[in-house]
Amino acid sequence: MTLFSVAFYILASVIIISTGIAITRRNLVHAAVYLIISFFGSAMLFYLLGAPLLAALEVIIYAGAIMVLFLFIIMMLDEEKLEEKFFPIHQWTPAAVMSGLFVAVAALIISGDSDSQVQLQAFTAEPASFGRYLFQKHWLAIEIVSLLLLIALIGVLYLGRDVRKNNPK
């Protein structure tokens, strides 16, 4: 057990426990805040796995932007009206079947692949060289993703327009 592997198991348990708490909360604000902890853990995990740029982006985009957006929407919608029937029983059957299938297939794949026992070697992708790689090899995908974000922006503006102003009836 090196220091790296101890850090990995601590981070993995933090991520799994906080995600497990998050998906069982009835209160949406608590769920979002627990998920922020989980995303911070994921960011640390990215750093451990040698992706410092992705770790920073995970904190900025996931824990910063996306979860704050969720919190805005949760507080904007009237929270008292958001009472839900908690885990209704007729939804358990498909969920249990899917989960069982998933666990079986994943266990088969992981145990059947002798290659998966290989130890990971520590390796860090420097942000500068990673950025250069990204813009040299994947410039077209970057453009497509930026177009996708623009389309999302236009779509959200269209969805959020004031309908009453357009049809005064």
Binding site: Y9, A12, T19, I23, A32, L57, A106, L120
Partner: protein, 97 residues
């Protein structure tokens, strides 16, 4: 030496399963969207682990695209939820039938 590759894949499998479970069983569109976020995050971790396994930057590049797509998806999804809530006054998916 960090850990065996299978442990990283098992972690992402458990996370993906949790996200899937959240998306399937919760009766609240916001929680469904949170489940999707958990699933996307698990896949990003898997890609970064694979990038470390093969010592290649391709996996990290895909993880960046996953981040961008998650941001686009969550903005559109939340706008749709707010739209539906304004019309029907509910975020329960069963109310939309």
């Amino acid at each position: 030496m960090i850990v065996p590759y299978s442990h990283v894949i098992s972690l992402t499998g458990i996370l993906f399963l949790m996200g899937m479970f959240c998306a399937v069983t919760r009766r609240n569109l916001i929680m469904v969207l949170l489940g999707l976020e958990i699933m996307l995050n698990a896949v990003a971790i898997a890609f970064v682990g694979a990038a470390l396994r093969w010592q290649h930057l391709e996996g990290q590049a895909v993880a960046i695209f996953i981040l961008a797509i998650a941001a686009a998806e969550v903005s559109i999804g939340l706008a749709l939820i707010v739209c539906a809530y304004k019309r029907l006054g509910s975020v329960d998916p069963e109310a939309y039938n």
